[in-house]
Subunit: 187 residues, 2 copies
DNA sequence: GTCTATATCAAGATAGAC
DNA sequence: GTCTATCTTGATATAGAC
């Protein structure tokens, strides 16, 4: 059942959003799926293997996002705002971005997973740069501003806001999104 | 030796910056201090006790920052930039802010530690708001902008940038700091 | 007060039954 | 292909020697 593999990876991502790579266990997954730990080990022999699969799935999702953006007929402004909203609203209040979670646990990751997370992080920035560059052609963002600087700042602020939200509630994230919106209108 | 307690807490903070609350162990600390695990348990019976001490120490440092800021004779611009630089440069390239680290591990923290981290997060935002409000009186930041929104966005972006830096190297953080600097000059 | 020794438990992982 | 049973390891924690 190739579907079970996907089910396990999805659950692992959810758990990583909630507790992180180090804190989640095969026991968590097996209990939620109503099977034994050993059956998870059958699908992913080592935690490292599951970790790589998780990172690859996150990478795939990002690549799909990139495609959707490129093919979309929406305005650059719409696309950028959609992407930011999506980054923020994809998660429950107690969850954070899985990429942030894996970046935090970076030192504890097997090196195969570390490398994938490097790839993921670079692609994520590339996607955001793509959006910012397009927004500049529509004069949503001042063209004198450096694409790379704007892109990493937007991404960082959303990721950081998700950390605060987990502790302080929805307000923090909402405030940051309003501020970013202001930033996209005025400069 | 009351100094040993301080030594352990400082080491724990360092380890939390590097690996996080879940991943660090009494074994890590005891090895670095050249003593046994049991001797760490003598000073902090449970990991939870050490966690509370860590959070309280972070809180104390923040309170000191707040005092220094209030008593400082520097311009509001200087103070704000100093604080941001300090937030960023306090850490090695492989480390992140201990508050971010504990926010990420929030779900795994004992509730006593969770509460302290809530306090810390609120105070941190209060400190940044203080700085932003002062900067507004000097017209470094446009007074039409909401203090709270600007403060949480600056904080979030620095914290997020530290996550990316760990994986992608110093550049990301540098770019965000330049962008924040731009933001403080122009609007 | 600081240590050794040890208990306890949960996690990752493996062997082999069905 | 999925399970039970089991091994190993490492982490938290405790009891008691010095």
């Amino acid at each position: 059942m190739e579907n079970r593999k996907k089910q396990i990876v999805d659950l692992a991502i959810k758990l990583i959003q909630q507790k992180g790579y180090v804190a989640f266990s095969y026991d968590d997954i097996s209990k939620q799926l109503g099977v034994t730990k050993a059956s998870i080990h059958y699908h992913f022999e080592k935690k490292e293997d599951l970790g790589v699969a998780v990172a690859e799935r996150i990478l795939l999702r990002l690549q799909e996002s990139l495609m959707t953006i490129k093919n979309s007929q929406a305005s650059a402004e719409e696309k950028l705002k959609q992407f930011i909203q999506q980054q923020a609203q994809r998660f429950e209040c107690t969850e954070i971005c899985p990429i942030s979670s894996l970046q935090t646990d970076y030192e504890s990751l097997p090196s195969a997973v570390q490398e994938k997370i490097g790839e993921v992080s670079r692609l994520e920035i590339r996607v955001m740069k793509e959006l910012v560059a397009e927004a500049q052609t529509e004069n949503i963002i001042n063209s004198s501003q450096d694409v790379h600087q704007v892109a990493v700042t937007i991404l960082s602020s959303v990721k950081g806001a998700l950390l605060y939200r987990r502790v302080l509630g929805n307000d923090v994230l909402a405030e940051v999104l309003i501020q970013l919106d202001r930033f996209l209108k005025k400069p």
